[in-house]
Structure formats: structure tokens, C-alpha cells
Amino acid sequence: MMNIDRTSVEAELRKFVGADIYVHSEATSFVFVRNFKVRATDARIAGEGPYRVALRFDGHGWLRMEALTHYEADEAGRLLLAGYDDRGRMHVALHLGKEPFPE
């Protein structure tokens, strides 16, 4: 995982716009959702760090997450975004893929 570079993440997010995507989203101590499938119509990043990312999907929905600090575009073509604290604990994660994540 690398520190988020906004321009790079913006470019990565664009690859998922207009596509059917699988999403893993979690606020680690409270909730996770794995492999919900949506058609993304917009995907944007905001902030100066930590960052906020939002998806619009299916013409009627939003997913917005904040406190994101790191990202990785992995070799499977997935975009992994996460927020860590200063001791390596992950608080939030937002993963986008064009195939389901392992259950």
C-alpha cells in the first residue's frame, strides 16, 4: 500500500466508471459489506489527506467513505483503498474490482 496520490487514484477510479463492479467496504470495528455489485456512474476522490471517496451507482445510489490514507492498484486490476492510523491499524477500507473478491 502506498500513500494516496490524488491524481493517481483519480485515474484508477475512472477505470471503474460505467462498469459493473464488486465492492468491499468496511468501517473496521463496526461493519463490512463484501461483494455488493453495482454499476458505477461516477467515482471521485476529494480532500487533501486523509481523503474522501464517493461512488454514485445505478442511477440512484451513493457510497461515500472518508479517512482514506493508502491505496494500491493490484495486479488483479483491483483498486484497494484503506485508512490506517499512525500505528498501522486499519479503520476503513474500500476495494473495487471487476470480479468478485474471494468470499
Binding site: M1, H24, E26, T28, S29, F32, H70, E72, D74, R78, L80, A82, Y84, R87, G88, R89, M90, H91, A93, H95, F101, E103
Partner: protein, 237 residues
């Protein structure tokens, strides 16, 4: 059951929820019995893939943590002397939501297959985490269904069972294992669970300092109260 086998042929089955449960909670005891030749099988219901700790500084993410923790557990097992390791393939944080009947049947089959002299698991109420309580409940039910008696123990945290009355138990219900000769192995296993322990600075201090953080004893609750009378309160076998 301990009469049935020679010292070296004894078997212990531990059924826990996450990689690191075996080390953090009862690593000294497992190292002690392994060093005496006990054949130990560890079952981990999950791969701990929903953990928060990602290394410090972080080098893991939700998609890479499962393989890392599996590898760490294999190394911890080597350091403790645990020879067999099995995973049940349940996703971390979901053990209480899967079919309890199926889970119980899986553990029962393991007990019948391995024929252990001692079984360790979590107490279904004192487990401290929903996954712990769920695997403890299933393992306890499996143990009873397999027709076993007198050799099931619940693991406990730190020295909380020094005063068992607070939890509704008496001293007769508790086995206290002296692990003072096996703390080096326990520390080595803590360090094997690197992504989970990097946040705890004491683990990485010089050995002598780190070792001083461990208690000399680990405590186990007898699942069958009647099994306590006349039994050795310093030995699980």
C-alpha cells in the same frame, strides 16, 4: 484416558478461532506439552482476515492479510512445537452466523478421527469475542456428542482464573500450568505473529525484558466439574 497411552503417545486437540489465539492465550502450555512429546493438532476456524492490525507501519490490506496470517500461524506452530494445523475456512467475524449444526458436526468428526486425550477450546460465555464463543459452543457440543468426558478444558485469559470465584468457579475447577520453562518459545511465537504484535513495543524489546511481561502460569477451566475431584490440578492429562 491418559492411562490408555504412553507419555509420548498422548494427543491434544485445540480448537480456536483466530491465528494467534493459541500463542497469546496458552502458548506456554502448548510449548510445554509439545516439548514432552504430546502430539498437538491446532484447528483455527478462521484465518483472522478481518483483523485491524496490518503491521506497524502497515504493510498489509484486507485482501493480503489472510495469506500473511496463515503463514505467521504456521511459523508460530513451528516455534511452539505444534505438528498439525487445520483451518476450517470460515471468514473471520462470521463464526457465530454459520450453521452451528454443520460446525459441530465438523468438529465432532475431528474428535472422532484424532481421538485426543485432551481437548482445549473457548468457554462459550467467557470467550471474550463472538467468534471465540461460537467455536467454543460448537466444540463443547461436539465433544459431548462424541461421547467424551473429563478431558475438555476451556482456555482463559492471563491470570483471571487465579480467582475463579469471580466467574462462578471454584479452585477444583481450575488447572494451573507452570509454563515458566517455556516462555522463550511463547515469545518466539508472539514474534511469529508479526503483523499482530508489531504494535506492542514490549514484544520487540530485548528478550529478557520481553519475557518479564509473561506470567509464569496459564489457567484452564475444567468443562466437567465432577472431573476435578481427585485430579491433578497442575496437569491437563
Amino acid at each position: 484416558m491418559s492411562e490408555r497411552r504412553t507419555q509420548a503417545g498422548r494427543r491434544l486437540l485445540a480448537v480456536f478461532a483466530h491465528p494467534d489465539d493459541e500463542t497469546f492465550i496458552c502458548g506456554g502450555t502448548l510449548a510445554k506439552y509439545a516439548s514432552e512429546g504430546v502430539d498437538i493438532t491446532l484447528v483455527s476456524a478462521t484465518r483472522g482476515e478481518m483483523g485491524r492490525r496490518m503491521g506497524n507501519p502497515p504493510y498489509l490490506n484486507r485482501e493480503t492479510i489472510a495469506a500473511a496470517r496463515e503463514q505467521e500461524l504456521r511459523q508460530a506452530c513451528e516455534r511452539l512445537g505444534i505438528r498439525q494445523l487445520r483451518f476450517l475456512g470460515i471468514r473471520d467475524k462470521t463464526v457465530e452466523f454459520i450453521d452451528g449444526e454443520k460446525l459441530t458436526a465438523t468438529v465432532e468428526a475431528l474428535i472422532r478421527d484424532l481421538d485426543p486425550d485432551v481437548v482445549l477450546t473457548f468457554h462459550e460465555k467467557l470467550g471474550g469475542h463472538p467468534d471465540h464463543c461460537a467455536i467454543g459452543r460448537a466444540t463443547t457440543a461436539a465433544y459431548r456428542r462424541a461421547g467424551r468426558k473429563g478431558s475438555l478444558y476451556f482456555i482463559s485469559f492471563g491470570s483471571e482464573m487465579e480467582r475463579p470465584e469471580r466467574y462462578g468457579y471454584t479452585r477444583n475447577d481450575i488447572v494451573r500450568i507452570d509454563v515458566s520453562a517455556h516462555l522463550e518459545a511463547k515469545l518466539a511465537a508472539f514474534r511469529a505473529h508479526r503483523c499482530q504484535t508489531e504494535i506492542d513495543e514490549w514484544v520487540w524489546r530485548p528478550d529478557r525484558e520481553a519475557l518479564s511481561r509473561f506470567g509464569k502460569h496459564e489457567y484452564f477451566i475444567r468443562a466437567d466439574a465432577a472431573a476435578g475431584s481427585g485430579r491433578n490440578s497442575r496437569d491437563l492429562f
